[in-house]
Symmetry: C2
Subunit: 319 residues, 2 copies
Amino acid sequence: MTREFAFIEALRAIAVSPAARGLADDAAVLEIGGEKLVLTMDTLVEGIHFLPDDPPESIAWKLVAVNASDLAAKGAEPLGCLKSHALGEDEWDRAFLGGMEQACRHFGLPLLGGDTVRMPRGSARSFSLTAIGRGLEDVPVPTRSGAQAGDVVWCSGTLGDSGLGLALLSDQVRDVSPDHARLIDRYRRPMPEPALGAALAPLTSAMMDVSDGLLIDARRMAEASGVAIHFDASEVPLSDAYRAVAGEDVEQRIAAMTAGDDYVLLFTAPTVHSAYLRAAAKGLDTQIHAIGTVSEGSGIVLEWKGAPISLPDRLGYQH
Amino acid sequence: MTREFAFIEALRAIAVSPAARGLADDAAVLEIGGEKLVLTMDTLVEGIHFLPDDPPESIAWKLVAVNASDLAAKGAEPLGCLKSHALGEDEWDRAFLGGMEQACRHFGLPLLGGDTVRMPRGSARSFSLTAIGRGLEDVPVPTRSGAQAGDVVWCSGTLGDSGLGLALLSDQVRDVSPDHARLIDRYRRPMPEPALGAALAPLTSAMMDVSDGLLIDARRMAEASGVAIHFDASEVPLSDAYRAVAGEDVEQRIAAMTAGDDYVLLFTAPTVHSAYLRAAAKGLDTQIHAIGTVSEGSGIVLEWKGAPISLPDRLGYQH
């Protein structure tokens, strides 16, 4: 058990309001005035969640996007955000605000307030954002715990691009093919789709976003739901860019399933809803992929072209 | 113009939603489902907003309290909070959570969610809290901009205690009289009163909390309202502890008016409401103090026992 995990367990003991959902969901859900308010807060720390030389515009984009991803996973309409900003260099901060303005507009999350602070010299800076959304009318806000045996498991985009982008950045690969640029862009500018989440939510049995890696996040969903989730690694959707740079053998498929930072939707639904779900995605000019199945049991069951394979030691980013 | 101030000006240019109130109020006010949602977010940074050896319980208390103070200033009923936590030592973090739990219970702000992050070694840690409240029914959420010529200016507690407490801590005074302890406690464990804010709000013309110092915060209110605010420094309410430790001559009165970290309410109301306001406070076992008047004009006008005196160079904590 990591320190972060132990601390979150201690936090759970004090977060007893039902609105907190046991701190085991992507967001809190607070009922007020007949509305379901969806609340999430994520922090990005220099040297931990972004590289010090990442462009400030893209750090701001990511800060907004990772929160928009949580709203998307709850089918919530974005309403606005508050931001805490640690001041740095003037020019850097101005560029950050430029990226922030773009992202706020793109995701429909107008800046409503927050705080601006100075840091002691030499300290890593951190940026927190709280996003507020409104849950769908007449539809419960999706949980992670509703997956049922027999359901289909879906995801809303290709996996592994962002992780590969980060690997390319970290290894400082000099080659600058368009594929590299595309992958790095997926790392720096994730593109969650709140409108897609809202379109899918009414027919999903469980939904969350993939932020730490497909396998680790799916295991969380399986645990919360008391079911087993089955994947065939050969069926995981990969982008052309991913295939071109990394290939698509079993190792690369597993890498894509454990990399994290994807910010796509992971959801389950009864098979009878499959056609509707595909149509809903198509109506938004996007695609969803059936990537697994739910059965009775527990944990993640992994196959490669129909034959069982063992789970990797590392399922994703472990808190 | 400080860097922080310049940055906030740039932020204003992108915070165009009316709910943001031009980033010139204590909180954002978002209308949803017939309710007025009051949203605030404050960050405490190690070495800037708290001393590294402050007890972790009291840092957590302060984090919750400074946000509760913003809700109080808007007359809002506290609903819940989200917190971003930078991990430190296990024992320290546990003690912090203990203080957090106490404060969340005291202020009626159950923990609903947030984020927990690691920091690079040696970095100052920071803690952000977003508090959510509900504005009073059928009453507009108080602004800073409604003060009218002829109004009385009020505050909800004594001033300067916290600043003197910090001064005592910083000078490492060895004397540990009960008065010192009381002042240090005011610095470490501010006691805003959301219930008082809600009781007063319906009859105030403007309300905000005093966080940066009475004079600087009152000047903000005067500017927002397009009026002048008059104080007689000899009438500023001081605690017995303050008087015992620092005295009450003009320098000490001015110090109390510019120290900051008071987290009391500053508000204006027509004279006709004075008796009601006093009764409302008394009903909550607390006191409010008439400390000034509003006139046409601009800025702050200061007197000492009826004779004009000049404003100090420093009106409070300048962002």
